[in-house]
Symmetry: C2
Subunit: 405 residues, 2 copies
């Protein structure tokens, strides 16, 4: 049994607690923490209703982490607090499950790694997309050589967040201040995590440079101008965050990675996870596979009609068992099931004393892309060198997937 | 009647002569030129059969351009010759229709512009995709405000050319030497031309910087290893051209442009022309439109099923007349009809003494992207500044489309 504290009880924290943690019989929530009292009360009531126990409420994360008898802390806060809280908890020997986000300085990430190495406290970066069906199917196919030598991967965070961002002060959402004050690839890890694992980053390969380019910021301003409930603060906010941020990463083994942050223009959700190799490709946009030797279609539309959703034909041979055996209930627990898998992976590894499947080097390297993108944009697109958080161990570490493929 | 010379009689030159020029009653071919005698003979026979006249054959382009009584020269050669031939012809007062391609130095492009300005000889860059249905439909929608403020455009040259490139010495194709010796975005204009016109480049806007990144080169080597008819030269060639080249262009008015060269890995053809604005998007990949306020679909596959090919619903209101009225015969003349339209635009403008719809500034600016991408890749992705070929006139020139929209 894992005695746990949950810190950060906004929308993501509330839903993860309700849907995932309270459905995991290995987790026992003793303490909850948020800066807002109403959020604390709401989750305390939820725990009482579902489990019968009275979780202690806190507004100070240090006090929460010092609650007696904790094994682990779940960090669901705004991006500004992830690393600081993780470092504090690791110093106390409390295992950390950290939600994803961006970072603000390379120094913080260096300290995150140094603290984990020195204390040995388990730390996992909870990148749910590393456990998603599409990404695992394509990764399994890649591991079995279906795409040949991989030379390029791409992905996006394509999600219309105009309502969430613009109402962030009203809804107490951390995105408002980030979009008001910064201009960067602020949320790279959903698409980058699965790509980095596929390319064996920190495990025989590494990111070398990051270059980023931001379009002008027009989406939020025009959205708010047409927003019936916009207040004066929203209307007068000058947004520094460009609507589309294009980021290119080069890798030591010669691959390139393309990312797109795409959150303030009208669009439907997509991560566009794409793998390109010498023998074939997978692209999530149409959930399609194209293998060398298949008929080449001249017209784009015909091409898509021919291959749209054809990746499902490869599931029987390549889809990992966790997705073959997923229950209907698990699919309902968040983002189609991946939330359940990633949080189960943490509690299983912690209980069994096994290495965390997404470790502090993954966390630091993936979040460093956000910091370096900010530097690159400020420098007119000049490439920024990625620090080696493994301090040379990437030569020695062996490729490993988040689950056996 | 336009008395014309055709230079460069390889595959593209042969097909354009046969399908387009010999079907245009305004064009009279008096001379043909190629370094290879068999190509010259083949086109002479074609002209004799179709039109009855004996076109004079040449192997030296200068002699061909000096053939008596010429009004225009069509340049269908390998990329290395486009600019040199165009400059020579303009000096002689012979109008130039130049096929598309890349360039090798900024100096050549400066000289191309200077020669056109000094001589006043008509010059047109024959970017057929500027006349294609998808691109014109989306551009017309953009001009009418359907997508709001445009902040980002992207496109690709996604075309599996492994067979053509690898057999280039056998088939006398210029791509072989370019792929052997260079590493760059070597063919940007098919996707970039329509984007540049949409963004009013050189007409109130301009490209500011070009950054480019090349993946490793693995596709051709592995392809040739499995090629039954590969000779020793092919097998031993070391290809410098990366498989995927990612290029980002920043614009004076704050837009960003993303290009991908993608010609040596298995894939189907696509240009992926995409327009992103504050009120909606068009993407050629699925020929789909998504407008602000439409239902947001969570799952990528559902999204595509919902919108795939839905751009056709906008044709009645927005499709230009040339595409509404296209004849079945015209669609058979090359690339679905766009070849016919772009070459008709040249002969019409020349006969009517009107400005060329795709001019020397377009040509220089778009081809300069290839040169600057080569410099950027060699400099590890460092941004390269785009020269202003208009020498400041871009402030003054008015937005204009290749046809009235």
């Amino acid at each position: 049994m894992i005695n746990a504290c949950v810190i950060g009880l906004g929308s993501r924290g509330f839903h993860l607690t309700r849907n995932v943690l309270l459905n995991n019989d290995d987790v026992n929530i003793l303490a909850v923490c948020d800066l807002y009292e109403d959020r604390v009360q709401k989750v305390q009531e939820l725990i009482k209703e579902k489990k019968g126990n009275d979780a202690k409420g806190y507004s100070d994360y240090k006090e929460a982490i010092n609650h007696e008898g904790l094994d682990a802390v779940y960090v669901f806060t705004g991006w500004e607090w992830h690393t600081e809280i993780a470092i504090y908890a690791m110093e106390k020997g409390i295992a950390v499950a950290s939600e994803v986000g961006c970072e603000y300085s390379l120094d913080s990430l260096m300290k995150l790694v140094e603290t984990q190495e020195r204390t040995g406290t388990p730390y996992m970066f909870m990148e749910n997309c590393c456990y998603n069906k599409d990404e695992l199917l394509a990764t399994a196919m890649a591991r079995k050589g279906m795409f040949g030598t991989i030379v390029h991967c791409s992905g996006a965070y394509g999600h219309d967040l105009r309502s969430e961002v613009s109402h962030g002060l009203i809804n107490r959402h951390y995105r408002f201040k980030n979009y008001e004050n910064r201009n960067l690839e602020n949320y790279p890890t959903h698409e980058l995590g699965p790509i980095a694992r596929l390319l064996n980053i920190n495990r025989g390969n590494r990111f070398v440079s990051v270059s980023a380019f931001a379009s002008k910021a027009a989406g939020l301003k025009e959205y708010i101008a047409n927003c019936e409930d916009a207040d004066e603060v929203m209307k007068n906010t000058v947004w520094k965050q460009g609507d589309i941020v294009t980021t290119v990463i080069t890798c030591a083994n010669g691959e390139t990675i393309l990312l797109r942050l795409d959150t303030t223009l009208p669009r439907s959700y997509s991560r566009e996870f794409t793998v390109r190799g010498t023998k074939g490709l997978y692209t999530q946009e149409n959930n399609s596979v194209y293998l060398d030797g298949e008929k080449e279609y001249w017209e784009p539309v015909d091409y898509n009609k021919a291959t749209i959703d054809n990746a499902k034909n490869y599931e029987e041979e390549f889809l990992p068992d966790i997705w073959k055996n997923i229950t209907e209930e698990q699919t309902q627990l968040g983002h189609g099931g991946m939330d359940w898998f990633v949080y189960k992976a943490f509690s299983d590894a912690l209980q069994n004393g096994e290495p965390m499947p997404i470790d502090v080097y993954d966390a630091a390297t993936w979040m460093a892309v956000s910091v370096l993108s900010e530097m690159s944009i400020a420098a007119g697109g000049a490439p920024q060198l990625m620090p080696d958080f493994t301090k040379g161990k990437w030569h020695l570490r062996k490729p490993e997937d988040v689950i056996k493929l």
